[in-house]
Symmetry: C2
């Protein structure tokens, strides 16, 4: 018997994505979002949602492009900083000391110190309510050699991504290996 | 210096959502998806993406409703089973022994054994490519008492959700607490 808790936006896990954009003066910005995820395999697409009041919303409307930067847990303080303050008020790259690198495929910067990043071009804008959803095509994934396994796969255990618990407002690391997908369910 | 790996649909973490639906004969089905996430705070909404070929796509088009069931790691084999086989070919509830419960707010079943679930009504359908994205309003969250903290918050450490690594095709548990959001970044 389950208890009704009402209309809550809670899923586990929620991701932590840091969104890289340029403003109209080509100044790089970074903002942390948890509302998003992959939304299509072909063309490869990701969706993120933003409030219109954010600087990143304004920047994406200007350039129709952004990067999704996947942080390692050692950058959790910088990630939280990126989520608290607005790029309107502070130069977030100067403050954190992280390095913006101009993407060679879209008009957006990525974060050099994060283990892997996606370069994305907006293809749909969906108005939902408080949040606007941007659907963007993934034009390239770039990764540090240190997290790349053979066959060009990304090793999540080397990435050490950050997991977000909405509402609780807590960050967690990833844990132990549970099993192989499309495999362990065959023995049921 | 990052290495270009091309157009890949990889993010860390990706979620594991089990989608509950009824078919046209009111037979319950469950399917595992990793393409989705929360997409709006107000109205509270979640998006999931499905290929048109799936039974769940057909069921959602029929009822314009589904549940999102968040599994605990102890159900990882059942979750994988739900992702491998089609409800067209097998009665997945009969096979796993899990219990479908009819939602009191939407025309969809939820899974009694999973720690918390969202009951959702479709409000937008976005064609992207191979996948169709369903945006759905969260009408209620229902949870087991065993995972509810005071102030009606859901305790992720009791839920023990499953994290998915796309492309690697591996499941992981959640790990150690890293810090409090909207807090630790202030000390930067």
């Amino acid at each position: 018997m389950k208890k009704s808790l009402g209309r809550k936006t809670v899923v586990h896990p929620a991701p932590i994505f840091v969104i890289g954009t340029y403003d109209r003066n080509k100044r790089p910005n970074a903002a942390t979002v948890a509302w998003g995820g992959i939304c299509c395999s072909d063309p490869p697409c990701i969706s993120i949602s933003l409030r219109k009041a954010t600087y990143t919303y304004e920047n994406i409307m200007e350039n129709k492009a952004f990067t999704v930067n996947i942080p390692s847990e050692k950058y959790v303080k910088e990630v939280d900083f990126f989520g608290i303050y607005s790029g309107r008020d502070v130069d977030k790259f100067a403050k954190t000391g992280l390095t913006p690198v101009k993407s060679d495929v879209v008009e957006a910067p990525y974060i050099e110190e994060f283990p892997f990043i996606l370069e994305c071009r907006v293809i749909q804008i969906n108005e939902i309510g408080l949040h606007t959803q941007f659907i963007a095509e993934i034009l390239d994934l770039k990764a540090d050699e240190s997290v790349i396994l053979k066959a060009s796969l990304i090793d999540i255990e080397k990435v050490k991504p950050i997991i977000y618990a909405p509402e609780l407002r807590k960050y967690f690391g990833i844990g132990h290996f549970l099993g192989n997908a499309f495999s362990m369910g065959k023995n049921l």
